[in-house]
């Protein structure tokens, strides 16, 4: 594609000189070009204008090659820069995601209630029913029940199941927590079967 075309250079003499620039050794250095000209064209003095034309063509072609090289280098550098930027973005997302995992924050709230009405849905490590003594648990029971209700209201059944499972273990006398675990398990199973088989629950 970048091969220079064969040029016909008009001569003063009757015969015409045909210069095939494909075989010419092209380079960016003009000095080299002139030196090369001398060696590869022994009949230069006889055919001076022809050699001048050829050298100018070579020079032009050399410059073109250089320009092409610069463009390619620029493209590579640009791609490398874009790649680096993407890597930085991915790294920051990964960091923030690992941060989410550590804090166990719930999924986005789809609750229609106003913000001031919302009960904090995050199950704080301190409020984990399993890690509490019976007295503390009884004292904080209202709060734990409120958190569970908020999780159900937000349709976060997965988190609600874990929460009520812990409550049912901590308060085995409360049948309602066991019932809640049963219903939540059934609802989650239905959701899974719906996503796998596209067959809904009754």
């Amino acid at each position: 594609m970048s091969e220079p075309p064969t040029l016909l250079i008009p001569e003063i003499d009757e015969d015409r000189t045909l210069v095939e620039t494909r075989n010419a050794n092209l380079d960016c250095s003009l000095a080299e070009l002139s030196g090369e000209r001398g060696s590869s064209w022994p009949g230069a003095d006889r055919n001076a204008s022809a050699s001048r034309g050829a050298s100018s063509v070579r020079r032009k072609l050399g410059l073109r090659r250089c320009a092409e090289g610069i463009v390619v280098l620029g493209l590579v550098a640009g791609l490398a820069f874009v790649g680096y930027q993407q890597w930085r973005i991915a790294e920051s997302i990964r960091k923030s995601m690992s941060g989410f995992g550590n804090t166990e924050s719930p999924p986005p709230n789809h609750d229609a209630s106003p913000p001031q009405e919302r009960v904090p849905r995050q199950i704080e490590p301190a409020s984990d029913p399993n890690s509490m003594s019976q007295e503390t648990l009884e004292a904080r029971r209202d709060r734990l029940e409120s958190v569970g209700a908020a999780l159900i209201r937000a349709n976060d059944f997965e988190a609600a199941l874990n929460h009520y499972r812990a409550l049912a273990q901590a308060l085995p006398g409360e049948a309602v927590f066991r019932d809640l675990v049963l219903v939540l398990q059934s609802k989650l199973r239905c959701e899974r079967s719906l996503s796998l088989t596209n067959v809904g629950c009754p």
């Binding site: 209630s113 009405e117 009960v119 029971r141 209202d142 709060r143 029940e145 409120s146 569970g148 209700a149 159900i152 209201r153 049948a175 309602v176 927590f177 019932d179 809640l180 049963l182 219903v183 939540l184 059934s186 609802k187 199973r189 239905c190 899974r192 079967s193 088989t197 067959v199 629950c201 009754p202």
Partner: protein
């Protein structure tokens, strides 16, 4: 002519005999029966019957496997004896067994049949959240079922037949300032365990000043 007639007759008889032979032979069919009470929920201890004969009870995974000898193309009547509190969703199920082998498979494929034993009763859990409504009695169908806690939350569960209607009332008679007064929510239990959320926000009505009547201001118009 007569020779060719005899040849054709003999060939057809042989063909018929060979066909009849291949069809009348009993072949073993490996069938796995899976019994579920709800989608994805296996049911243990269900007796499965094939053509009236018991082949065994389901295990913890709700499955029982059987090797059944049958003529390819035969129909088999499948029945399940559901445990107490469950009911089969349909009468006897009928399946037709066919010989089906794939060239790349060494052993014949196992047939899987899913059967249902639906629970007769379902669980309804009511989550009551009453904003500005701490320590209020909650009634279900007119019966006291529980109270809201200090944060206005109550959880109540009930077993019922699908289609049962429940009227959940938050009783505010103890505090007449609360509005709305004793709101009632009605729910219908579907054919599945369900959670019903009662979300109520109470407003505190300001008390009217009783005793001294405010004197009406007299404006003299001349």
């Amino acid at each position: 002519m007569s020779v060719s007639k005899w040849t054709i007759a003999l060939a057809s008889v042989l063909t018929l005999v060979s066909c009849a032979d291949s069809r009348s032979v009993d072949r073993p069919f490996s069938i796995v029966f899976i019994v579920e009470s709800d989608p994805g929920l296996p049911l243990k201890g269900v007796n499965v019957l094939v053509d009236g004969k018991s082949i065994g009870k389901t295990d913890a995974n709700g499955s029982v496997r059987a090797e059944i000898l049958a003529i390819p193309g035969a129909r088999l009547q499948i029945e399940q004896q559901c445990p107490k509190g469950h009911q089969a969703t349909e009468d006897a199920k009928s399946i037709r067994v066919r010989k089906f082998e794939r060239l790349e498979e060494a052993a014949p494929r196992t047939i899987q049949v899913t059967l249902k034993c639906k629970p007769l009763q379902r669980l309804a859990v009511f989550i009551v959240t009453a904003r500005n409504g701490p320590d209020l009695p909650v009634f279900i169908d007119g019966n006291n079922a529980g109270r809201t806690n200090q944060l206005g939350v109550a959880q109540i569960s009930r077993w019922g037949v699908p289609g049962t209607e429940y009227a959940v009332e938050i009783d505010t008679r103890a505090d007449p300032r609360l509005l709305p007064r004793s709101p009632v929510h009605v729910f219908t239990l579907p054919d599945a365990h369900e959670i019903f959320v009662v979300n109520e926000s109470f407003q505190l009505q300001e008390r009217r000043r009783s005793g001294h009547r405010r004197r009406a201001r007299i404006t003299k118009i001349e």
